[in-house]
Amino acid sequence: MRLSFHFIFWFISVAVLYRIFTIDYDNGIVDFIYTIVFHVPLIFVVYLNYFLIQKLLDFKKYTFYIISIIVGFVAGVMAHYLVFDFICPIVLPQFFMVSLSTLGEVGQYIGAYIIISLLVRLSYDRFLIRDKQIALEYAYKENQLEHLKSQLNPHFLFNSLNNIYSMTTTDVEKGRESIIRLSDTLRYMLYKTDSDRVPLIQELEYIENYIELEKLRLESLKMVSVEIPSISNQLHIAPLILLPFVENCFKHCDKNNPEIDIRIEIRHRELYLYCRNNKAVANSKIDGGLGLSNAQERLNFLYPELHVIQIKNGANYYRLELEINLNEKV
């Protein structure tokens, strides 16, 4: 959180507690000192809570969080008495003040600040997530648009249609099949990708269609190895999450002598994607571009802590390994 936010929070806190502590008292500056001293254990529990939220609650370790915060609560109450009874007489010997709260009241203050800090943090996260979600939705749309453009660009369509036309003179059946693939690809992109999750089987079919069409488009493509497993209908995945990586292989491979290896495996509800393509010497510094960074951002957002990505950008090859745990609660 921003420093200014912390400053505003504590400023309001001091103002409110000072008002409460001076309802029955009129001791001037010592009331203000008392309010500040009263805040020391509160600051301690709030930042302890903040730390525990980051380390435990964010990782859904609820039991550990509850146990830790109970210990933190007790430590906060003890810190209150430590500050008033031992530290104050040493640090501020000229001021005479005692903690006027009973143990129950101290507990109420400490507890209230733990709850307030938790709520503030959760609200802040909610705003943060919403902002991130908007940004990612934008990135996703941008990605989708880019993809749509690349797919629908006249060059792609012209090449695909031309290739299909040539094929119909030699292999009519394969030509028909390719038209269906092109039609399926366009339909999937236009109508199926609006939902949060799609059946994995549909996404893989779409990738398969895409690869087949790319194979037609790149005449000189010599070797494309693709393995896509047969899977059940129960698994779901975010639409178009894999495509940028597959697309990347075709976009950046050595067009004169393309070598592409794409493998998709499902292991215990975990999807494993392996993509490898060779690179032309001129493209040796290419690292994936905007499309890939958007795709990684989407992965971070949609599959936080549920995916692992490893990229090896070699001198003459590019390799990507991605594992996604599909066992999420949709």
Partner: protein, 243 residues
């Protein structure tokens, strides 16, 4: 809180009130004791027992009897059945000022209720003006004004009087009793300099401590060992009258 700054609340509750009979007796200033002065001031502490009886079907009626218990036959003779009885132990101080050499100047005489309590192992006394619980008009006027008014008129303005507590630390040192009240000047200075956080009011330029018993005890518990908060105090010797 202080010797001369009154507090609305005491420093003790019924749970932490203590009995320490070492205080019982007539005590004199050490100097007067040594000089065997006839003008000596006298601190006469006596143990006091207050019995309180409440009767059934007579909610507001109670009898306070001091230092002796009512014969149970008396209860039986009353038409009302005894509901509960309470017994309180504390001390009464009869303080007598210096004896005047002039006969027409009466000797100062004050009567206080003294309750003892321990805070952090130290003994403290809570002084409160003597006011018999039956609040008879004569007793009330006498105890508050400290003068004899032989009138049976019911005081019309008795409710205007508010009684305050003052506190002192008590130490027994060999045969001496040292009474150290809180230093009123020091407290006044700290309050004016805004260095002490204690609930109080300033009424007609006089400070009245309004802190609760719990707050007073917490304060004494923390600062009871600060010698600068106490006056030098009175060093008293047990008079031979007692011995």
């Amino acid at each position: 809180m202080c010797g001369c700054i009154p507090s609305l609340h005491p420093i003790f509750t019924l749970e932490n009130r203590v009995i320490d009979d070492r205080i019982v007796g007539i005590w004199m200033d050490e100097e007067d004791y040594n000089n065997k002065s006839q003008f000596a001031k006298k601190w006469d502490f006596q143990r006091f027992t207050n019995f309180e009886y409440r009767y059934k079907d007579l909610e507001k009626f109670k009898i306070n009897v001091s230092n002796f218990e009512i014969d149970t036959n008396i209860h039986n003779k009353l038409n009302y059945k005894l509901h509960s009885q309470k017994q309180e132990e504390y001390y009464i101080l009869n303080y007598q000022g210096s004896n005047s050499p002039f006969k027409y100047i009466p000797r100062l005489s004050e009567k206080m209720i003294v309750n003892l309590t321990k805070i952090n192992g130290e003994l403290y006394a809570d002084f409160y003006p003597w006011l018999p619980k039956d609040k008879s008009p004569y007793a009330a006027v006498k105890s508050t004004r400290q003068q004899s008014i032989f009138s049976m008129d019911i005081p019309r303005f008795q409710s205007n009087l508010i009684y305050g507590h003052t506190f002192a630390k008590l130490t027994f040192d060999n045969s001496n009793l040292i009474i150290k009240p809180f230093d009123p000047d020091q407290f006044e200075r700290l309050i004016k300099e805004q260095k002490i956080r204690l609930k109080h009011e300033i009424v007609n330029e006089e400070i009245v401590i309004t802190a609760s018993t719990q707050e007073l005890r917490s304060f004494i518990s923390k600062y009871g060992n600060r010698e600068d908060l106490f006056m030098e105090g009175d060093i008293l010797r047990l008079s031979q009258e007692t011995e």
